[in-house]
Structure formats: structure tokens, C-alpha cells
Amino acid sequence: MAKTPEPKRTISLKPCDGDVIEVSPMIAKQMQTIQSFIEDDSFIATTTIIPLPNVTAFQLSKIIDYLNYHSNSKAVADNVKESTKKFDEEFLKELEHDKLKELLHAANYLNVKEVLDFLCQAVADLIQDKSVKFVRKFFGVVNDYSVEEEEDIRRTHAWAFEGVEED
């Protein structure tokens, strides 16, 4: 996936599992966490390998895929909207809920805005207009309200629960 051109100008990233992945400086730049390492005086592009103990090889390659596709499609002005949409749909289709959440954590750790916004939108679309039960399950939230407390919230916020059936 990531290519190593000569001479070596790429940034080496080591996910918590799997081998080192090389990324172009342009891609690395979009990951704020990586960028702050690159700006560190002790960083030497040819030898330094940046370890990412919180990111798996799968997550890292997904994020790189996304950035690669979107930075390339920006260059071509016409008819990209549809193919971009298709890419985004395919990208999400491969992700089960758990994987999506884990990827969100990875994107947050790497602080990569474009992917973070995209994933937050995806999560938002998932929970939009869903039952409380679904949203709790999706987020893995443990309900720590008593029955009375929950009823009280529903009653005092009845204006926001109009048309919503209780689980």
C-alpha cells in the first residue's frame, strides 16, 4: 500500500501490531500527533521510526487509505463528488460498529481532522433517530439511572421526546 520511493523521504510509522508502514510527508502532516514528532529536534526522517502503541496496522492503513484517496481526488476538479461518495460508502461498509468505534479512537489519537470529521459524521448518521436502547448499545453505555430518574428526564424533556416510543 504505502510505497517507498528512493531516496527515502517517507515517514516510518510502527503500529502496535504488524510491520512498519511508510507514509508520505504530505499524509503524515495531516496527522497532528505525528506532525508534532516530526517537528521535534531529535527526529531524523531516515532513521526514526515512530511507534504508535494505540493504533493497529488495520486502523493505520484505513486512515492512510482515506487520506490518500481524498488528497488525490482534490486535484481533479470534475465528477469527483460521485466517486468520492462511493469511496466513502465502501470505506464504511467494511467497518462493523466496533471497528468503527476503534477507528474513531485511532483517528482521535492521531488527531487527523479530516478522518475524525468523517467518522463523527458516520457515527452521527448511525445514531440519528435511533431508539435510546440502540444508542446505549452502540456506545456501550451502562444505564446508571433509576427508573424514576429516567422517567423524570423524559417527562421534563417531553418536548424532545415527541413521537418517540419508549423502549
Binding site: 511507534p51 494505540n54 457515527v123 444505564n143
Partner: protein, 383 residues
């Protein structure tokens, strides 16, 4: 040293995520806000019943999306919006607010919800506001008080406000809006927006007696005008005056005609020009005075926008020009540095490309050497 920093970093995020607990609930508020900034406000409030931690998240969200689509009736939607604002933490700022009420006209005798929203955000350091509602917006001038608003997007609204005074506004989108203009001869709506860099109006109606529509925007770089109507019609008398010395992108589209433009400051920086005019009516007319007038307007506009590198036109423009060769023959080509020339719609191979018009349009651009029939006409990159 390197490693220490990395480990410090990862330890910090690790401590946030204890094993066995739900991961997303332990996300920082900032990230939960980020997710909830994409959901409808109704869904956002409903997260308060998830668990204690979520109870008060919605009251300080800086991104709000109000949409009537998740309500059975508009009055329930309006009731929701007013309750939301009343129960929200009034000290929390709002960066982005979208209010969309599509479908029927908002009941005027009902609660003036939109005005309440405008009044609420005017004092909240809002940056980005979108209002989509078929509604007479009387509160618009009260938004002038905002010193932070940078993007304003208005759709479907009607207003008597025709002079905008948004000191910090950079982008303004006006779509399907109606403006009631008082008796002035020169309409000059944007002079009070000194930072405006992007302006789009699409299908907007202006009602009034003005004959000059002035766009005074010294910082404007992008301008899109489409289907501008005055008193429900295409106003032949109306001249659009541009004082936009920094303009880089100009787009005009109209299914009918082209307004006369008067350029008050030279457009040295114009890069991209998109003109889409459907002139079939003019072309089919028995009398050709109109076609003549239209051709003159095209030529004048091209000459004013001669620095464009990317020129996209509708085929009708070439057709109209080719009917009046006397108007451009012997004239210098208006453009001097075209790199890409394109037709906006696909040109059928039966459309005979008039060589005299093409030579007139492209002959003055040394960088442009290649003609192609289909798709785009792209110059060979020299060097």
C-alpha cells in the same frame, strides 16, 4: 527522548480508557461534542437519558442542527426549538447553528421561532449561521450586532432588509430569497460587509425601483450570480456594478439572459470565468435586436474579465456570437492567458463549432494551442 514523549502521550490516553468500561462514554467531551454536532438537535437532547454522564452534554453543545423533518407538525418543531433555547446553558457559546424548516410556510401567528433563534445567537459569538425557512425575517438587522459571524447562509426567507451590515462576515449565501427594497435608485447591499470574500446569490428576487445593483466588496474573491430577478422578471434596465478588485472567480448563470455589467475596478486577478446562459429564446426570435444587444453584453463582459485562465461557457453563447460576426471581427481577442476552455454542457458533434468565434475567444492566448471537440479544450502546457 523521543520515546519518552511517545510513551507519556500514550499513557495519558490510556488512563482515559480503563479496561472493561465503555470506550465511547470515556471519550473526551470534545469528541462527543464533535459527534453530536452532526446529529439533529432532537437526537442530541435525547442522549440525556443514556446515562448520568450524558445528562447535561446537550446543553452546552456549540453546534446545533434544528430540522423540522423529525417532527410530525411544525408547531411541535417550533415548540421544540423554543424549549431547547430556554433550557440550554445560556453561557455556552454557539459556533454553528442550522435552522431548517422545509415544506410549508411557517405560521406567522405562531411563535416567531426564527426571530427567537436569530436574537439568541446574535449575542452568542456565533460564527456560522444557516436559516432555511419560508418566513419573513424581521430580526435580520439585529444580527448586525454580532462581531463574530463569518458565514451566513439564508434560504427561502423574505426580508425588508436590503442593506447588510455584517462587520465580520466573509461568506454570504442567498438562495431563493426575496428582498423588499425601499425606493432607491442604486441598490448597494454589501458595502457594510468589509470582509466579504465569497458571495453567492441564486434565484433571488428583488422588489423595488432601483436600476443599479451595486456590489461593492473590496475583499471579494468569489462571486456567483444566478437567476437574479427584479420585480419577478429579468430586468433589462438593471445594470450590475462591480467594485470587486480582488475577484478571482466569477460565475453567472441564467436560463434567459445576461445582465449588463459595469466594472468599476479592474479585475486583474480573475482566474476562472463560468458563464452559462441559455439563449434559445433570443436565438429563435424573429427580431435580432435582442441577439445583437446580448452579443455586445457578452463581448463587454469578456473584455472586462480578460485575465481568466479557465473559461467555461454554455454553447449558446458561441451560437449567439456567431450570428453577429460583425460585432467581434477585427476586435482583439478578449482573453490573453486562457489555459482551459470548456463547454458547460456536452456539445453534440452536430453542433458546428464556428471557427471565427473560437478564434476570437482563444486567439489571443499564446498558451492555448489545441482544440478538441469533445469535453474540454485544454492548452498544451508549455514548459
Amino acid at each position: 527522548m523521543m520515546n519518552r514523549r511517545i510513551w507519556k502521550n500514550s499513557n495519558r490516553s490510556r488512563s482515559r480508557i480503563k479496561k472493561g468500561e465503555d470506550k465511547l462514554s470515556n471519550l473526551p467531551d470534545e469528541l462527543i461534542h464533535r459527534i453530536l454536532s452532526f446529529v439533529d438537535a432532537k437526537t442530541a437532547v435525547q442522549t440525556s437519558v443514556l446515562a448520568h454522564r450524558w445528562k447535561h452534554i446537550w446543553i452546552s453543545l456549540p453546534f446545533l442542527n434544528f430540522h423540522n423533518s423529525s417532527f410530525d407538525h411544525d408547531f411541535l418543531f417550533q415548540d421544540f426549538v423554543l424549549n431547547f433555547l430556554a433550557n440550554r446553558d445560556s453561557d455556552s457559546k454557539i459556533d454553528v447553528l442550522k435552522f431548517e424548516c422545509t415544506g410549508d410556510e411557517l405560521e406567522e401567528n405562531g411563535a416567531p421561532t426564527v426571530d427567537s433563534v436569530v436574537d439568541y445567537v446574535a449575542s452568542k459569538d456565533i460564527q456560522n449561521l444557516t436559516i432555511v425557512a419560508d418566513y419573513v425575517l424581521e430580526s435580520l438587522p439585529r444580527l448586525f450586532a454580532s462581531r463574530t459571524l463569518t458565514v451566513l447562509n439564508l434560504s427561502n426567507i423574505s426580508t425588508e432588509t436590503s442593506i447588510f451590515e455584517f462587520v465580520s462576515l466573509q461568506k454570504l449565501y442567498l438562495v431563493d430569497c426575496k428582498f423588499e427594497i425601499r425606493d432607491v435608485e442604486i441598490l448597494d447591499p454589501f458595502r457594510g460587509c468589509p470582509k466579504l470574500s465569497f458571495l453567492l446569490f441564486h434565484s433571488c428576487q428583488f422588489y423595488g425601483k432601483f436600476d443599479t445593483f451595486k456590489i461593492h466588496a473590496p475583499q471579494l474573491t468569489e462571486l456567483s450570480i444566478s437567476c437574479l430577478r427584479v420585480d419577478d422578471e429579468f430586468d433589462y434596465e438593471c445594470v450590475i456594478e462591480l467594485f470587486t478588485p480582488k475577484l478571482r472567480y466569477f460565475s453567472y448563470d441564467d436560463p434567459f439572459n445576461l445582465y449588463a455589467f459595469s466594472i468599476q475596478a479592474k479585475l486583474h486577478f480573475l482566474e476562472k470565468l463560468v458563464i452559462d446562459v441559455d439563449s434559445s429564446e433570443v436565438l429563435n426570435a424573429m427580431d435580432n435586436t435582442e441577439g445583437n444587444t446580448l452579443s455586445v453584453k457578452f463581448i463587454e463582459l469578456f473584455e472586462a474579465m480578460g485575465s481568466a485562465k479557465f473559461v467555461y461557457l454554455s454553447p449558446d453563447i458561441v451560437k449567439v456570437l456567431s450570428s453577429f460576426p460583425a460585432l467581434f471581427m477585427g476586435r482583439l481577442s478578449p482573453f490573453t492567458r486562457v489555459q482551459t476552455f470548456k463547454f458547460i454542457v456536452d456539445v453534440s458533434s452536430s453542433f458546428p463549432l464556428p471557427t471565427n468565434v473560437m478564434a476570437y475567444l482563444l486567439g489571443g492566448s499564446p498558451g492555448f494551442t489545441r482544440y478538441r471537440r469533445q469535453g474540454s479544450y485544454t492548452a498544451k502546457q508549455s514548459g
